[in-house]
Protein backbone atom coordinates (compact mmCIF):
# COMPACT_ATOMS: atom_id res chain seq x y z
CA UNK A 1 0.00 0.00 0.00
CA UNK A 2 1.25 3.40 -0.97
CA UNK A 3 1.46 6.17 1.63
CA UNK A 4 1.14 8.92 -0.95
CA UNK A 5 -1.09 11.88 -0.18
CA UNK A 6 -3.42 13.25 -2.85
CA UNK A 7 -1.25 16.37 -2.95
CA UNK A 8 1.94 14.36 -3.55
CA UNK A 9 0.26 12.19 -6.19
CA UNK A 10 -0.90 15.25 -8.15
CA UNK A 11 2.42 17.12 -8.00
CA UNK A 12 4.21 17.19 -11.33
CA UNK A 13 1.32 15.48 -13.11
CA UNK A 14 -0.18 18.66 -14.53
CA UNK A 15 -0.63 19.57 -18.17
CA UNK A 16 2.36 19.76 -20.50
CA UNK A 17 1.53 23.46 -21.06
CA UNK A 18 1.54 22.99 -24.84
CA UNK A 19 -2.21 22.53 -25.45
CA UNK A 20 -2.91 26.14 -26.42
CA UNK A 21 -0.08 26.12 -28.93
CA UNK A 22 -1.32 22.82 -30.40
CA UNK A 23 -4.88 24.15 -30.70
CA UNK A 24 -3.71 27.43 -32.26
CA UNK A 25 -1.63 25.58 -34.87
CA UNK A 26 -4.61 23.39 -35.75
CA UNK A 27 -6.76 26.53 -36.15
CA UNK A 28 -4.21 28.30 -38.37
CA UNK A 29 -3.60 25.27 -40.59
CA UNK A 30 -7.34 24.50 -40.87
CA UNK A 31 -8.12 28.06 -41.98
CA UNK A 32 -5.24 27.94 -44.49
CA UNK A 33 -6.40 24.57 -45.81
CA UNK A 34 -9.93 25.74 -46.70
CA UNK A 35 -8.85 27.73 -49.81
CA UNK A 36 -5.80 25.49 -50.43
CA UNK A 37 -7.73 22.21 -50.54
CA UNK A 38 -10.47 23.69 -52.73
CA UNK A 39 -7.84 24.98 -55.18
CA UNK A 40 -5.96 21.66 -55.03
CA UNK A 41 -9.07 19.54 -55.72
CA UNK A 42 -9.78 21.41 -58.95
CA UNK A 43 -6.15 21.77 -60.14
CA UNK A 44 -4.99 18.25 -59.27
CA UNK A 45 -8.34 16.84 -60.43
CA UNK A 46 -7.89 18.54 -63.79
CA UNK A 47 -4.66 16.63 -64.59
CA UNK A 48 -5.31 13.34 -62.79
CA UNK A 49 -5.68 10.71 -65.50
CA UNK A 50 -3.88 12.76 -68.16
CA UNK A 51 -0.69 11.51 -69.89
CA UNK A 52 2.78 12.03 -68.40
CA UNK A 53 3.78 14.92 -70.67
CA UNK A 54 0.61 16.85 -69.90
CA UNK A 55 1.11 16.38 -66.13
CA UNK A 56 4.75 17.56 -66.27
CA UNK A 57 3.82 20.57 -68.41
CA UNK A 58 0.96 21.47 -66.06
CA UNK A 59 3.10 21.43 -62.91
CA UNK A 60 5.76 23.60 -64.58
CA UNK A 61 3.25 26.43 -64.35
CA UNK A 62 3.66 28.47 -61.13
CA UNK A 63 0.14 28.46 -59.62
CA UNK A 64 -0.63 24.71 -59.87
CA UNK A 65 2.84 23.94 -58.42
CA UNK A 66 2.52 26.46 -55.56
CA UNK A 67 -0.98 25.20 -54.71
CA UNK A 68 0.19 21.56 -54.75
CA UNK A 69 3.34 22.21 -52.69
CA UNK A 70 1.53 24.30 -50.06
CA UNK A 71 -1.43 21.90 -49.83
CA UNK A 72 0.85 18.89 -49.33
CA UNK A 73 2.99 20.63 -46.67
CA UNK A 74 0.17 22.28 -44.70
CA UNK A 75 -2.14 19.25 -44.84
CA UNK A 76 0.55 16.89 -43.50
CA UNK A 77 1.36 19.43 -40.76
CA UNK A 78 -2.37 19.52 -39.93
CA UNK A 79 -2.56 15.70 -40.05
CA UNK A 80 0.42 15.44 -37.70
CA UNK A 81 -1.47 17.46 -35.08
CA UNK A 82 -4.81 15.70 -35.57
CA UNK A 83 -3.48 12.16 -35.54
CA UNK A 84 -1.50 12.90 -32.37
CA UNK A 85 -4.73 13.94 -30.61
CA UNK A 86 -6.46 10.76 -31.80
CA UNK A 87 -3.58 8.55 -30.58
CA UNK A 88 -3.55 10.34 -27.21
CA UNK A 89 -7.27 9.61 -26.86
CA UNK A 90 -7.24 5.91 -27.75
CA UNK A 91 -3.75 4.44 -27.20
CA UNK A 92 -2.03 3.97 -23.85
CA UNK A 93 1.48 3.48 -22.50
CA UNK A 94 4.45 2.70 -24.69
CA UNK A 95 2.30 2.10 -27.78
CA UNK A 96 1.04 5.69 -27.50
CA UNK A 97 4.56 7.11 -27.53
CA UNK A 98 5.64 4.80 -30.37
CA UNK A 99 2.54 5.60 -32.46
CA UNK A 100 2.93 9.37 -32.01
CA UNK A 101 6.63 9.29 -32.95
CA UNK A 102 5.88 7.01 -35.92
CA UNK A 103 3.06 9.18 -37.25
CA UNK A 104 5.04 12.42 -36.81
CA UNK A 105 7.95 10.88 -38.76
CA UNK A 106 5.55 9.62 -41.46
CA UNK A 107 3.91 13.06 -41.73
CA UNK A 108 7.19 14.94 -42.19
CA UNK A 109 8.58 12.29 -44.56
CA UNK A 110 5.47 12.42 -46.77
CA UNK A 111 5.45 16.24 -46.67
CA UNK A 112 9.14 16.39 -47.66
CA UNK A 113 8.72 13.81 -50.44
CA UNK A 114 5.67 15.59 -51.85
CA UNK A 115 7.21 19.08 -51.76
CA UNK A 116 10.47 17.78 -53.25
CA UNK A 117 8.56 16.11 -56.09
CA UNK A 118 6.52 19.25 -56.84
CA UNK A 119 9.66 21.44 -56.81
CA UNK A 120 11.46 19.00 -59.12
CA UNK A 121 8.49 18.93 -61.51
CA UNK A 122 8.23 22.72 -61.50
CA UNK A 123 11.93 23.51 -62.07
Amino acid sequence: MAYLTDRKRAAGMGSAKSGTDHHWKMMVTSVALVPLVIAFIFTFGAVLGQPYEAVVAYYQRPMPAIIAGLTIFVSFYHFRGGVQTMIEDYVKGFARKAAIIGMICLSYFAAAAGVFAVVRLAL
Binding site: A2, M27, S30, V37, G45, Y59, A68, S75, F79, G114
Partner: protein, 149 residues
Protein backbone atom coordinates in the same frame (compact mmCIF):
# COMPACT_ATOMS: atom_id res chain seq x y z
CA UNK B 1 -11.34 16.82 -0.23
CA UNK B 2 -11.84 14.23 2.48
CA UNK B 3 -15.02 12.22 2.36
CA UNK B 4 -14.32 10.09 5.45
CA UNK B 5 -16.91 7.59 4.36
CA UNK B 6 -19.83 9.95 4.86
CA UNK B 7 -22.69 8.89 2.63
CA UNK B 8 -23.65 11.48 0.05
CA UNK B 9 -27.41 11.32 -0.60
CA UNK B 10 -28.09 9.29 -3.73
CA UNK B 11 -24.51 8.10 -4.06
CA UNK B 12 -22.66 5.19 -2.52
CA UNK B 13 -19.90 5.97 -0.03
CA UNK B 14 -16.64 6.08 -1.92
CA UNK B 15 -14.22 5.99 1.01
CA UNK B 16 -14.15 3.86 4.08
CA UNK B 17 -12.31 5.63 6.86
CA UNK B 18 -12.04 2.40 8.88
CA UNK B 19 -9.90 0.83 6.18
CA UNK B 20 -7.58 3.82 6.25
CA UNK B 21 -7.90 4.35 2.53
CA UNK B 22 -8.79 8.01 2.47
CA UNK B 23 -5.13 8.98 2.23
CA UNK B 24 -3.86 6.51 -0.33
CA UNK B 25 -7.05 6.22 -2.35
CA UNK B 26 -7.01 2.57 -3.45
CA UNK B 27 -10.36 3.07 -5.18
CA UNK B 28 -8.64 5.23 -7.77
CA UNK B 29 -9.70 4.24 -11.26
CA UNK B 30 -12.74 2.37 -9.97
CA UNK B 31 -15.05 5.33 -9.58
CA UNK B 32 -18.30 5.75 -11.50
CA UNK B 33 -17.57 7.34 -14.87
CA UNK B 34 -19.77 9.65 -16.89
CA UNK B 35 -21.99 7.89 -19.48
CA UNK B 36 -19.81 6.56 -22.25
CA UNK B 37 -20.43 5.93 -25.94
CA UNK B 38 -21.58 2.33 -25.44
CA UNK B 39 -24.63 3.32 -23.39
CA UNK B 40 -25.16 6.85 -24.65
CA UNK B 41 -27.87 7.48 -27.25
CA UNK B 42 -26.21 8.58 -30.52
CA UNK B 43 -27.00 12.18 -31.36
CA UNK B 44 -26.40 14.25 -34.47
CA UNK B 45 -23.79 16.36 -32.67
CA UNK B 46 -21.80 13.38 -31.36
CA UNK B 47 -22.07 11.26 -34.53
CA UNK B 48 -20.99 14.14 -36.80
CA UNK B 49 -18.14 14.86 -34.37
CA UNK B 50 -16.70 11.33 -34.50
CA UNK B 51 -17.06 11.30 -38.30
CA UNK B 52 -14.98 14.49 -38.42
CA UNK B 53 -12.17 12.57 -36.73
CA UNK B 54 -12.65 9.43 -38.87
CA UNK B 55 -12.68 11.36 -42.16
CA UNK B 56 -9.68 13.50 -41.18
CA UNK B 57 -7.52 10.54 -40.26
CA UNK B 58 -8.72 8.33 -43.12
CA UNK B 59 -7.57 10.99 -45.59
CA UNK B 60 -4.00 9.78 -44.95
CA UNK B 61 -4.64 7.00 -47.49
CA UNK B 62 -5.46 9.37 -50.36
CA UNK B 63 -2.76 11.81 -49.20
CA UNK B 64 -0.04 9.16 -49.39
CA UNK B 65 -1.34 8.02 -52.81
CA UNK B 66 -1.15 11.61 -54.08
CA UNK B 67 2.39 12.04 -52.72
CA UNK B 68 3.40 8.77 -54.42
CA UNK B 69 1.82 10.07 -57.67
CA UNK B 70 3.85 13.33 -57.47
CA UNK B 71 7.13 11.54 -56.60
CA UNK B 72 6.55 9.16 -59.52
CA UNK B 73 5.83 12.07 -61.88
CA UNK B 74 9.08 13.71 -60.76
CA UNK B 75 11.00 10.44 -61.23
CA UNK B 76 10.10 9.59 -64.84
CA UNK B 77 7.59 8.13 -67.30
CA UNK B 78 7.92 4.49 -66.14
CA UNK B 79 7.43 5.29 -62.45
CA UNK B 80 4.56 7.63 -63.36
CA UNK B 81 2.85 4.90 -65.39
CA UNK B 82 2.89 2.57 -62.35
CA UNK B 83 1.63 5.16 -59.83
CA UNK B 84 -0.88 6.72 -62.23
CA UNK B 85 -2.15 3.25 -63.16
CA UNK B 86 -2.80 2.50 -59.49
CA UNK B 87 -4.36 5.86 -58.64
CA UNK B 88 -6.69 5.72 -61.67
CA UNK B 89 -7.57 2.02 -61.26
CA UNK B 90 -11.03 1.09 -59.98
CA UNK B 91 -9.58 0.80 -56.47
CA UNK B 92 -7.79 4.14 -56.76
CA UNK B 93 -10.95 5.74 -58.14
CA UNK B 94 -12.96 4.38 -55.21
CA UNK B 95 -10.45 5.71 -52.67
CA UNK B 96 -10.35 9.09 -54.42
CA UNK B 97 -14.16 9.34 -54.64
CA UNK B 98 -14.61 8.50 -50.96
CA UNK B 99 -11.77 10.87 -50.08
CA UNK B 100 -13.43 13.71 -52.00
CA UNK B 101 -16.47 13.25 -49.77
CA UNK B 102 -14.23 12.88 -46.68
CA UNK B 103 -12.36 16.11 -47.44
CA UNK B 104 -15.55 18.14 -48.01
CA UNK B 105 -17.12 16.67 -44.87
CA UNK B 106 -13.99 17.26 -42.77
CA UNK B 107 -13.74 20.82 -44.10
CA UNK B 108 -17.39 21.71 -43.37
CA UNK B 109 -17.31 20.24 -39.88
CA UNK B 110 -13.88 21.76 -39.26
CA UNK B 111 -15.49 25.12 -40.04
CA UNK B 112 -18.13 24.20 -37.44
CA UNK B 113 -15.30 23.84 -34.90
CA UNK B 114 -13.90 27.24 -35.90
CA UNK B 115 -17.37 28.78 -35.41
CA UNK B 116 -17.70 27.09 -32.02
CA UNK B 117 -14.21 28.26 -31.03
CA UNK B 118 -15.24 31.84 -31.78
CA UNK B 119 -18.06 31.45 -29.26
CA UNK B 120 -20.94 31.26 -31.72
CA UNK B 121 -23.60 28.61 -32.51
CA UNK B 122 -23.08 26.89 -29.16
CA UNK B 123 -26.75 25.93 -28.68
CA UNK B 124 -28.06 22.50 -29.66
CA UNK B 125 -30.79 23.53 -32.19
CA UNK B 126 -28.44 25.63 -34.34
CA UNK B 127 -25.63 23.06 -34.06
CA UNK B 128 -28.02 20.38 -35.33
CA UNK B 129 -29.31 22.61 -38.13
CA UNK B 130 -25.71 23.26 -39.20
CA UNK B 131 -24.97 19.51 -39.02
CA UNK B 132 -27.93 18.64 -41.26
CA UNK B 133 -27.01 21.36 -43.75
CA UNK B 134 -23.33 20.33 -43.77
CA UNK B 135 -24.16 16.64 -44.37
CA UNK B 136 -26.30 17.57 -47.37
CA UNK B 137 -23.67 20.07 -48.58
CA UNK B 138 -20.87 17.48 -48.34
CA UNK B 139 -22.84 15.06 -50.55
CA UNK B 140 -23.75 17.78 -53.08
CA UNK B 141 -20.14 19.05 -53.22
CA UNK B 142 -18.92 15.47 -53.74
CA UNK B 143 -21.31 14.96 -56.67
CA UNK B 144 -20.33 18.37 -58.06
CA UNK B 145 -16.62 17.52 -57.77
CA UNK B 146 -17.11 14.12 -59.41
CA UNK B 147 -18.90 15.77 -62.36
CA UNK B 148 -16.46 18.69 -62.80
CA UNK B 149 -13.26 16.68 -62.18
Amino acid sequence: MRNNGAKVPGQPARYDAKKGTEMADVNRGNRPLSPHVTIYRPQLTSVTSIFTRITGNALIVAALMIVWWFVAAATGPEAFATANGFVTSWFGDLVMFLSVWAVWYHMLFGIRHLIWDSGHMLDVPRSETFAQAAIIASVLLTIFTAIVV
